[in-house]
Symmetry: C2
Subunit: 295 residues, 2 copies
Amino acid sequence: MRQASFLSAVHDRIARQRADPAWLASARSDPLNRLILFIDERPLLRIAEAGAAELVTICVNDHPGELVLIGRDDRNRLLFAAAVDPDSALARTSSAVDLRSVALQGLLAEPELAQLAQARSLLTWHARNGFCANCSSRTTLEDAGYRRHCPACQANHFPRTDPVAIIVVRHDGRLLLGRQPSFQPGIYSALAGFIEPGETIEDAARREVFEEAAIRVGNVRYIASQPWPFPSSLMIGLVGEGLTTDVTIDAAELEDARWFDAAEVVAMLERRHPDGLNVPQPFAIAHHLILAALS
Amino acid sequence: MRQASFLSAVHDRIARQRADPAWLASARSDPLNRLILFIDERPLLRIAEAGAAELVTICVNDHPGELVLIGRDDRNRLLFAAAVDPDSALARTSSAVDLRSVALQGLLAEPELAQLAQARSLLTWHARNGFCANCSSRTTLEDAGYRRHCPACQANHFPRTDPVAIIVVRHDGRLLLGRQPSFQPGIYSALAGFIEPGETIEDAARREVFEEAAIRVGNVRYIASQPWPFPSSLMIGLVGEGLTTDVTIDAAELEDARWFDAAEVVAMLERRHPDGLNVPQPFAIAHHLILAALS
């Protein structure tokens, strides 16, 4: 079975050295170290005629501007990432591809997908956080991209990681799945929502399911987590036991939600549902939560 | 056994209505609804002579300024929270007490501790996020405190919840515990660190343990989560299996870390360790992770 995409574990983030300017200057001057390139939020790929793709990287010492450290790869090179100008020469010989499409279409594999996920979250955060939220001054990129500092009020700002509770609720052999208007046609998936301040993972999941579908949830079991770099979510995957069965959807969030019996979900997984309904592909954690809820 | 503090589940957050200005205006005008008060980051309490304490609340319609919604309490009242001026009359007749002390000393119980945790995270975030990080303009509080909006660039900003992996590693019946210089004397606890962009919960825990103590961790099991409002962490509690045993501490993070055998940990839990060593009290999730790792 194909794993979910963007799972990390493949590289050393060098978190203790990246705050050392001398170490960083040395790492940046070594042409063996590589730089991954993005235009806006899309990584640059070279697409072969057969549909195969290759991640574009350049020597890091060719890049004078701001960058973020990804870590050490399995060939013992340091990887960095940076945003480049849409008018650059590289942009003309490469394709900037949405990362979700890269994963969904299998254009690249791990560990590159996980490296791109990390890079995309960090670069997007820097692009949207040039000023100090505390005092409005311009901030500077520090610690190889893992901190921004305000020289005026001395505040430090750290990249966001936004935890999301994502849950498949089951009751009496049936699974509760819903669809947002933005989903591809026919796709039904787990319900999900951001965990709010002062809330446990489990209670956030219960609250979301009640708000979106009016179903009460009892026991909740943790299954797995997945970074979801759109822009910086951490999907925390759960299976829960429904205590009630009458679904009322919140039309502001969902287009539909209903109970599916196990045979129907298996047909969706196997892409042979009579109405063409589907569940998300294995690159998304929802696919694996649905499998866990069936087992 | 006493539960960890700040666990939520006690109130409806009214997330669907709080963005409706008419609903909010009506809720604010109802004197039955209550306002919890903070000075800086400390809730106002009335301390009785016997050491008992009571949370200070006022009618919400007495407060003309900015506030955040907590939710509906078990008496069907809406709860809000706001920061008040240190020179106000209320400040003179009440005590502003650090929330960690309120929990540690048992001055208040749930659900009030969870309500205060939620309030503290939200109020601290608003106090430090008056400007748009994207364009530097002044932002406005919206959705009863669950959003800030930039009228200049139209960016929306949401309160942070920072996930932290906290883990007790075990190997051959022994537990790996460490102490930071900031801990109370004699306390040893679980290792912990912020989950970074592009990282799973499990890999963040493995990375932190390797960085802080040079121990490799294999299997990791999720135990429980706890909101930790200092200022806005979500502690994600784990037990992991150590693959190596030679501890080398990172002196920038830890003052000490070592393996404790089960009998020694039990003595620490029962506060009868011969050297006066202790583990955190039950209000902290680390206590419960240590119990889980022993079982």
